[in-house]
Symmetry: C2
Subunit: 458 residues, 2 copies
């Protein structure tokens, strides 16, 4: 109850392995990227990644949007068919193709046929089975992909595929839409090898971010590659909790895309022994995947459309981790908190107001009699536990609200405003109720976001 | 399946009685408003309404925000004590006080004591019991109300209370914060009188809007007065479904306030017979209340912070009304749809994407294993039914997407952009799945919203 502002920062991220933001190709993969002419700008827009040693174990999470794009549906179908997992969460994959400039969402049966044609062309060009291809696409919703350009691009890209680091970077560059920077991260952990020693495995990831970023079960486009060995289902078991703590805690603008997808592929090329569920090695690989996911999510938040500040909400003292994540997510998703961050305004009242809405986001779903519908009732009965008399809030390291001491705290407004000029703003909340912690990532709301999104298709 | 764009507009609002936007004081009330000095600007900031014939039947809906403000909690307590309704939804009330300029939220025990002191002063000045007072407040979260100024204001306002129309308008003006216009609406319906004839009853409402507008169970500050007669519980039964179809379908910025409150007071002064639950008279009074609620919600949306366009999403052909409302609400809440509206960009892909997210708003609440938590599972199992192959979308009367005909429709982009220049933008979606309909109200996202909210407390 006497924690200082500094102690409000949670420990949840400190047990993750260190991450570097450079391209490091794990063993067992080749990649490439180029400009195929999908984007009018002439920027790179086509990426291919191939597993060199045959099908790799693959796990995925996808958007729950009812208008899931054609590439999402085809990827799910291929994963399902290869593993028997009806949810399409995991399976075997040998090639990934990413197109940028057109989302191939809400394009109907024609869009489905287009994506299948891309799968066939990719399969023919790389020599893999059609059913072992995975698909990503991003761009304007409702436009068709230019199949002739994609086909010519695939023919051009396949001979350039390489296992060197530059090839991975070219693929990451081609994943971008309006991203101002290429988002890439790598880490390495020691895992047991079959001969009883250990071996270093690499986990590398790439992502595209920018706008329509408010991932749910899923996340924005992202690919994580590792040369560790694991079954598809084991890999899926590592991906889901990592995504829950990282990508599902990311919000740029509250809009969940039709194309959100994360793929994790494990080639096994490191020579490490296959990780078994529940083992120490699985935990270590899981933390490595989470470290990459967290860093990419932070890169995505920092590069949100029009953003000038990364906002990290760190919540401690929650009843449980799920409550902490809900509160953190509510804070970074608030338009008013985001606008205040842009103005360097230490408006803690908006932070408290947003925190008080955690888990209530859809409680307005009422039945015909104006009473909460079934799901709203469940939610209303289980809001995040939060109490104004135990809550403490700090902004950029300065304590601004202390519920244990009556509430508002006198603070040096000019000093806090100055601290808010940094490229990352940490908003820390100690709920004072338990040991749960969690974090969420967002960005400020700026005039540039409005301008950028007022004129996109036209 | 062959509906034209025009037929996409639902009939849900056409059976409501017509509304006029003028102050019309129902019988049995006196009101007043003045500048008490709470706001630094010197604008009117204190309103009082008193029932002249003793306690009036009262019903209320409040914010579910965990940081519900002191006036919300005191009002609930008074309603509960007067009726025995533990939820604080209805009871008896004789005086309402509204302060503007300070929300009295997150102000701890001191803020609670302040609000009780205001109740005592109001009771003494008006001669009503403390427990028959209801309270509204709006403004900056975390600041204390200046009790001396409020007390002096109450002493000054009580002698001015009047039953004329101008007095009602003065109260509505004093309810405003940064509202650019006073929000008021009135309607009249014929109800049975005890002598077997009918009598005209008046239903008038006022509201404040602007920002932090995303009501859930509740709504923003609003007071509806009627001279109809009804028991508190009957009145509550009429208010809840009306609020579900109107205020709970309103979003300016996705932030739910700590102070949202609607009060409906019925004086019975018209001489109409008390309406009985389930009667035709109750239905007629309910539609009158809904007509006022709908019109005030539309005024609030049109006057959203920085807004230049009212956005109405009209959904027909849904599986049921709840689905229709969820889809409509998802559309008007989307930052990307709001920004596109600002740019007069007929970007139907964002509308489809937002519609596809209906009811998924918090599906990201995952448990520690990365699987959906209980409430998320309920929601995920029951998303709004929507199908790209039966969906039709029109923007400002122009059909832009027809899932029955393969999806995207060729349309005259320049003509649609010109039509989007109107002060109201109607986005109509026919889901093609059933007979459910509903609507939601929002506004465009503008640079002015960002600028206004970047500098508020400082």
């Amino acid at each position: 109850m006497t924690a200082t502002a500094a102690s409000l920062v949670p420990a949840s991220s400190t047990d993750l392995p260190p991450v570097e933001r450079r391209a490091a190709m794990p063993g067992g993969f080749r990649a490439g990227g180029l400009a195929a002419g999908i984007k009018a700008s002439g920027r790179p827009d086509l990426a291919v990644i191939v597993a060199t040693g045959g099908p790799a174990a693959a796990a995925a999470v996808f958007t729950p949007n009812a208008f899931a794009a054609a590439p999402v549906r085809l990827s799910k179908a291929h994963l399902s068919a290869s593993s028997g997992d009806a949810r399409g969460g995991f399976g075997w994959a040998e090639a990934i193709v990413s197109t940028s400039g057109s989302a191939n969402a809400a394009t109907g049966a024609a869009g489905e046929a287009d994506q299948l044609e891309i799968a066939r062309h990719l399969a023919a060009a790389t020599g893999v089975e059609v059913g072992r291809t995975l698909h990503l696409s991003t761009g304007v919703i409702g436009t068709r992909l230019p199949l002739d350009r994609v086909a010519a691009g695939l023919d051009a890209i396949v001979p350039t595929l390489s296992g060197d680091h530059g090839a991975l970077e070219r693929a990451a560059i081609a994943l971008r839409t309006t991203d101002s920077v290429t988002k890439i991260a790598t880490t390495s952990v020691q895992l047991p090898s079959p001969d009883g020693t250990t071996v270093a495995v690499t986990v590398s990831g790439m992502a595209k971010g920018v706008g329509m970023i408010h991932p749910r079960m899923a996340t924005m486009l992202s690919v994580v590659l590792t040369d560790a060995a694991a079954s598809p289902e084991t890999l899926w078991g590592l991906l889901r909790p990592a995504a829950a703590r990282t990508w599902n805690q990311l919000s740029v603008d509250g809009d969940t895309s039709t194309n959100d997808t994360v793929f994790v592929l494990a080639s096994g090329a490191s020579g490490a022994a296959p990780v078994e569920p529940g083992s120490a090695a699985a935990a270590r690989l899981g933390r490595a995947i989470e470290a990459i996911a967290r860093d990419l999510a932070r890169q995505q938040a920092a590069d949100g459309e029009g953003a000038s500040t990364l906002i990290t909400a760190s919540v401690t003292g929650a009843r449980d981790d799920a409550d902490a994540r809900a509160v953190a997510r509510a804070v970074v998703s608030s338009s008013l908190v985001k606008a205040a961050a842009h103005g360097r305004d230490p408006n803690w009242g908006r932070i408290a107001g947003a925190a008080g809405n955690a888990r209530l986001a859809d409680a307005a779903v009422l039945d015909a009699a104006g009473l909460p519908a079934a799901e709203a009732a469940v939610r209303a009965a289980n809001p995040a536990a939060i109490d104004a008399t135990t809550l403490r809030i700090s902004i950029a390291g300065y304590l601004v609200f202390d519920g244990c001491a009556g509430g508002p705290v006198d603070f040096d407004r000019a000093a806090v405003r100055a601290a808010m000029e940094a490229s990352e703003l940490v908003i820390a909340l100690d709920l004072g109720l338990g040991a749960g912690s969690g974090e969420a990532f967002g960005c400020d709301l700026t005039e540039a976001y409005v301008i950028e999104n007022s004129e996109y298709t036209t």
